[in-house]
Symmetry: C2
């Protein structure tokens, strides 16, 4: 039914080749093989080229050829990302391509799996070089929050490239999914109605020119841009068909329409994980930890509804993998949780832990807590988000972790 009359197939590019990008390529490649009527059988994976030396303990180590080689060449020869996802064989229909524009140029589906900070410059290079009716899915977690407003990664991609961009987020650890351990994810995909007669937008802004989405003064988003409809020769990109691209027996996908909620979940959970770590570090037990998680999920809901009232549904946070399940996973053993717990147990600040344990690398939770607090202050809404505000104030040593119950105590 879905492909009735469709003469063309969707071609897929995974933009990114780290451990999450390579994992995504693997599962997407399995799915294009399982759905040959919908998808072109070759998946392109853009590889940020670098020289790699195959380690001696790799099954691909060859003593007669142990000089540095190009990562993309090694990948295409051994079908394994020896540097970022070792010991996992990726299907041979994934082609590593070091040329960004070439890897994307005739694809109708672009899956972005890049570190946060690379997204603007990669998008800038692709402006005008992709199919005008392509669709994107952003698998990078996090949002840009500042005093001016909140910018979703998906919005940054979509506006920069003048295409629709959805989001994928869930309780997902790349290496576990690569090993085909069971997990779930949430894909948000909700393209607005598009005018099939509309010309390709010209002079699209670059990612760096894209304004922030301020809650007080929303700027035109990708939704209101003129997006080009998918030609009829292609199978429709319905929820059903998008799901077929990601869903695997070991990777269960639920489709939703709330892109903002899915994106916020992946960012705000890190603040909650810090709070859970503080409480656990005090030795207060699992009830206290569960309470902090519950309060945190409801603050996520409030945050989403306050700043994205047209898009966000409560259920995205309370019922989907990108919400409750990702919070649970992050608060059971994630890095933010573990470092916050360690800080309390050792009587050190979390910044000392970042220095000592993470070699100065910043936790996502600490930066998100500061960014969100700056934004909430600018909106005069700190009091409406007592847990997020408490985490910030604990980091700033304005309050103690022991004060959390009092600070988040609901008023009668």
């Amino acid at each position: 039914m879905a492909t009735l009359g469709a003469q063309r197939k969707h071609k897929v590019t995974v933009v990114g080749s780290g451990n999450w990008g390579t994992t995504m390529s693997k599962l997407v490649a399995e799915n294009v093989k399982a759905n040959p009527n919908l998808f072109d059988q070759t998946v392109q994976m853009w590889v940020y080229e670098e020289e790699v030396t195959i380690p001696k303990d790799s099954r691909h180590y060859d003593p007669s050829n142990d000089k540095p080689q190009k990562l993309s060449e090694v990948f295409n020869r051994v079908h394994e990302n020896v540097k970022y996802l070792p010991n996992i064989t990726v299907p041979s229909n994934v082609v590593g391509n070091p040329d960004l524009v070439d890897s994307c140029k005739d694809s109708t589906i672009l899956i972005f799996v890049l570190p946060h900070q690379f997204i603007p410059r990669v998008c800038d290079q692709l402006v005008g070089k992709i199919m005008p009716f392509a669709r994107a899915i952003c698998c990078t977690k996090g949002v840009d929050v500042s005093e001016k407003g909140i910018r979703l990664m998906s919005e940054a991609i979509g506006m920069s490239l003048s295409i629709y961009c959805g989001a994928l987020s869930g309780a997902n650890i790349a290496s576990e999914i690569a090993q085909e351990k069971y997990s779930e994810t949430t894909v948000a995909y909700d393209p607005p109605p598009m005018d099939s007669r509309a010309p390709t937008p010209k002079g699209s802004p670059t990612a760096s020119q894209v304004d922030l989405i301020s809650p007080s003064k929303p700027v035109p988003s990708a939704r209101s841009a003129r997006l080009k409809a998918l030609p009829n020769e292609y199978p429709p990109l319905s929820h059903e068909n998008v799901r077929k691209l990601f869903h695997r027996p070991y990777f269960h996908v639920r489709m939703v329409s709330d892109v903002a909620g899915v994106s916020l979940g992946g960012a705000l959970k890190n603040i909650i994980a810090l709070a859970a770590g503080f409480v656990d570090g005090l030795g207060w037990g699992d009830n206290a930890k569960a309470a902090v998680m519950r309060v945190g999920i409801l603050e996520m809901v409030r945050f989403g509804k306050e700043f994205f009232p047209d898009s966000v549904h409560t259920s995205t946070f309370t019922e989907e993998s990108c919400g409750v399940a990702d919070v649970v996973t992050s608060c059971m053993g994630g890095r933010n949780f573990r470092c916050a717990k360690m800080a309390i147990e050792r009587g050190e600040s979390i910044f000392e832990i970042e220095q000592k344990v993470l070699n100065g690398q910043k936790l996502q939770g600490t930066s998100t807590a500061y960014e969100v607090n700056t934004f909430l202050k600018s909106q005069g809404l700190e009091q409406e988000f007592p847990l997020f505000t408490a985490v910030y104030n604990i980091l700033e040593k304005n309050v103690r972790p022991e004060d959390i119950p009092e600070l988040i105590e609901p008023k009668a």
Copy 2:
């Protein structure tokens, strides 16, 4: 405002003196002291009398008096339940009373904190002996499920005594609350409109005569019985005032109206904890565990809405302590979770674990899984609850734990 014109105060009895009952007495006693305009300053605690010998390591051990003594007498002398909640001092305004009827006879608020199986016979002894306009709160988790239907503990109490009965449930471990470690709970309280002129109902059924609530043929519940309104001399038992009886700085209370949802949460979570234990025992990691928890919470919602459509709200399970937080706690370290995990790791059945580790005591999760399955089968609804059904089938060795992802895979 709330007490304007009220000349009398509410007297409270805690029916039960185990570790949870004693903990409840402690916190309620603290709250009646904090709210002298609402509550009588003495809290009665019904003590199931038994002879106790104070252990040598107790701070109340007296070598000159180490013979067995009555539990209630020891309690009233040392203000500690030396047998069931040692080392916790209970305020001296709690009076241990071994006479059930005497402890309840002039109380307007009865808090039931008894083991499940004692509730019917205790209620039978109280019929006609309590104030006709008393209100009850049931703190015992669990529901009675059989082929015939589902009976909530609160309904059994309410119908037996012809009074209104709410429910309290949450991510609560008595000993942690007794130590004033922070946690949360949910109190469901939603009395129907009552006729203040109605006479006291005569010839109330005994608990054993109370019919089960069958989803196919609902029987008159306490809601439709003629309940006697609280006389105007008493402060109203609004959500605000009920909350004042339970809420403490270390024990945060959220009030809801969904008694069925709160009651179901405390029972069904144990099935989910078994599933989480199976998956964790397979070494599948935190993502898999979080996925099972998420799916389980949504099956709770479906179960509640299917069988208690007039009462149950999704948010009771997804947003309250009695739902999501209790599931989280139970799946982090509860007994059902630990035994299920151990069964998989050791390659033994959970019944062998019950024998070896619990000395033959049954896990709540296993009996609830069987009861719920019997009921679902009778309704022809096994397929609508794939996780609950999978747990039953794993216990029955009809399927393997490894099959869980396939069994709960959502259809596109």
